[in-house]
C-alpha cells in the first residue's frame, strides 16, 4: 500500500493514497512539501465544476508561495486522470511542476500522456482519494468568481488547514 496523506481542509478531511511505485518522483516531491508544512494554509485557488479542484500554490491572501525546483513529469507512468485521482499542476513547460496539484473531479482523459512533446506530455497522476470523496464534491460545488488577477477562485476561502502524513 502506498503512503497515506490526510488533507485536513476547511470542508473536511480528504484522505489520499500516493502511488510511490509508479510515481516515485512526484510522490517524494509531494511528501517533502507536506512534511515541511508548505501546504498548511494554502488556498484551493482554482475550482472548476465538472473538471478539477487545484491548490498548493497560494496562501489565503492569494500570495504565491515560494517553491523548490521543478520536477520531471511522470505522466508517462500509465496512471490516468480519472475522477478522484491526484495529479501535479504545471505551466506550459512539461517538466515545470513544483508544489501545486489538483484532484480530478471528472474523468479527464484529455489530460493523460500522449507523447513526449510540449502538447502531448499531459499531467502526472501520483495517487488517488481513498476517503472523504464527499469533501472533494463539496469543494467542487462552491461558488467561484474573479479575485485579483485570477478567475475561478472560491468566493469563500477553502483552505488546506493542515496536510499530515499518516505514519
Amino acid at each position: 500500500m502506498g503512503t497515506q496523506v490526510d488533507l485536513h481542509t476547511s470542508l473536511g478531511v480528504i484522505g489520499v493514497e500516493l502511488d510511490d511505485a509508479k510515481a516515485p518522483v512526484s510522490t517524494a516531491n509531494f511528501l517533502k512539501y507536506v512534511r515541511k508544512g508548505h501546504y498548511d494554509g494554502t488556498l484551493f485557488h482554482r475550482v472548476i465544476k465538472g473538471f478539477m479542484i487545484q491548490t498548493g500554490g497560494f496562501d489565503a491572501a492569494l500570495k504565491q508561495k515560494l517553491t523548490d525546483a521543478p520536477i520531471a513529469n511522470e505522466a508517462n507512468n500509465g496512471l490516468t486522470n480519472e475522477r478522484y485521482t491526484i495529479a501535479m499542476a504545471r505551466t506550459g513547460a512539461p517538466h515545470s511542476a513544483t508544489a501545486q496539484f489538483f484532484i480530478n473531479a471528472a474523468d479527464n482523459a484529455f489530460l493523460n500522456f500522449k507523447s513526449e512533446s510540449p502538447q502531448g506530455w499531459g499531467y502526472a497522476v501520483f495517487g488517488k482519494v481513498t476517503s472523504g470523496h464527499e469533501h472533494v464534491d463539496a469543494i467542487e460545488a462552491v461558488r467561484t468568481g474573479r479575485r485579483g488577477l485570477l478567475d475561478d477562485v472560491p468566493v469563500h476561502d477553502v483552505v488546506i488547514v493542515k496536510a499530515v502524513v499518516a505514519e
Partner: protein
C-alpha cells in the same frame, strides 16, 4: 497644470519627448510583456519565453524593457546565450511585428543588434495609437521619482558621454563592471527592503498621460502586476516580471485589441 514646483520631477521626466506610433490597421491583437531578465542563470524562464513567442497568435509583440538581465553592448550578441535569444526574436519577427523599448538593464541594446533580429526600437515613452485608442507605453523607471539616488544614476548612465566611455572598454571589462553595478544595486535594494523598487510617481504619470492625450498607461519595471485607476483620468496596467526558475511560474502578458486590454497570466494548470 504646470511642471513647476509642485512636482518633484526632473526636467527630463516632466516633459518627455513622446514618440507617436500608429499600429497597422490590419492588426487584431497587440501583446505586451516586460521584465523577462533573461540570463543563462535562468534557463526555465528563457525556455518559457521562447515557447510563448513560438505559439503566440498576436499580430505584434511589444517588449517594454528588461528583456535581458544585462546587455553590455551589441558586440555581446555573438555570445552563445545572447545569440540564442536574438535567434528567438528573429524567428518571431518573421511571423509578426516585434518592438522593443529599453529598460534599465538593457538600455545598451542597440539598433544594430535589434535590426539583425527584425525588431523595431521604440523610444521611451511612446504613445501607441491602435483600435481608436491612445495607450501610453513606458518601461517605468523614468517615473520612479522617489528613488532620487536611482534617478541620478539613470541620468548619468543614459548620457552619451557615459555610453561612449563604457562601450570603449573591452567586453570582459564591461561584463565585470555590469556585474559590480548589479551587485551594488541589489545590496542597496536589500538594505531598503521590499519597498526598494518603489512605484511610479502618480503626478508625473498623470502629466505624461495629459501630454500624450492617453487615458491608459502600460508599464513594467516595478514587478508589481496590477490593473487599476491611477487618477480619475488615467488607468494603468502594470506588467509582471517573468520567473520560471524558482517554480513560481510568473509571466503576464497584456493583450490589446478592439475589445480593450486583457491580462493573460502564466500559471500552473491542468
Amino acid at each position: 497644470m504646470t511642471t513647476g514646483n509642485s512636482l518633484p520631477v526632473t526636467a527630463d521626466s516632466a516633459r518627455p519627448q513622446i514618440h507617436e506610433w500608429n499600429a497597422s490597421d490590419q492588426w487584431r491583437v497587440i501583446e505586451f510583456m516586460s521584465d523577462l531578465h533573461l540570463s543563462p542563470l535562468a534557463p526555465a524562464t528563457s525556455a518559457a519565453w521562447a515557447a510563448h513567442l513560438q505559439h503566440t497568435d498576436a499580430d505584434a509583440v511589444v517588449i517594454l524593457g528588461d528583456l535581458f538581465e544585462v546587455w553590455v553592448g551589441d558586440d555581446a550578441r555573438c555570445d552563445a546565450f545572447e545569440a540564442r535569444c536574438l535567434e528567438v526574436l528573429a524567428r518571431t519577427s518573421a511571423r509578426c511585428w516585434v518592438g522593443f523599448m529599453a529598460g534599465n538593464r538593457d538600455f545598451l541594446l542597440g539598433e544594430s543588434a535589434l535590426a539583425d533580429a527584425g525588431v523595431t526600437l521604440l523610444p521611451d515613452p511612446t504613445v501607441l495609437c491602435a483600435f481608436g485608442q491612445r495607450v501610453l507605453l513606458t518601461h517605468g523607471d523614468a517615473l520612479c521619482l522617489a528613488d532620487v539616488e536611482y534617478q541620478r544614476f539613470r541620468a548619468e548612465v543614459r548620457s552619451p558621454a557615459w555610453r561612449a566611455q563604457f562601450l570603449s572598454r573591452s567586453l570582459v571589462e564591461r561584463r565585470q563592471l555590469a556585474a559590480a553595478m548589479r551587485d551594488a544595486s541589489e545590496q542597496r535594494q536589500r538594505a531598503r527592503g521590499r519597498a526598494a523598487y518603489g512605484d511610479i510617481d502618480s503626478a508625473a504619470a498623470a502629466e505624461w498621460s495629459r501630454l500624450a492625450r492617453a487615458p491608459v498607461l502600460i508599464h513594467g519595471h516595478t514587478h508589481q502586476p496590477v490593473s487599476e485607476p491611477m487618477t480619475t483620468a488615467l488607468t494603468r496596467h502594470v506588467l509582471s516580471d517573468w520567473h520560471h526558475d524558482d517554480g513560481s511560474a510568473r509571466g503576464d502578458t497584456l493583450r490589446l485589441s478592439a475589445a480593450g486590454i486583457r491580462r493573460s497570466i502564466a500559471r500552473a494548470t491542468p
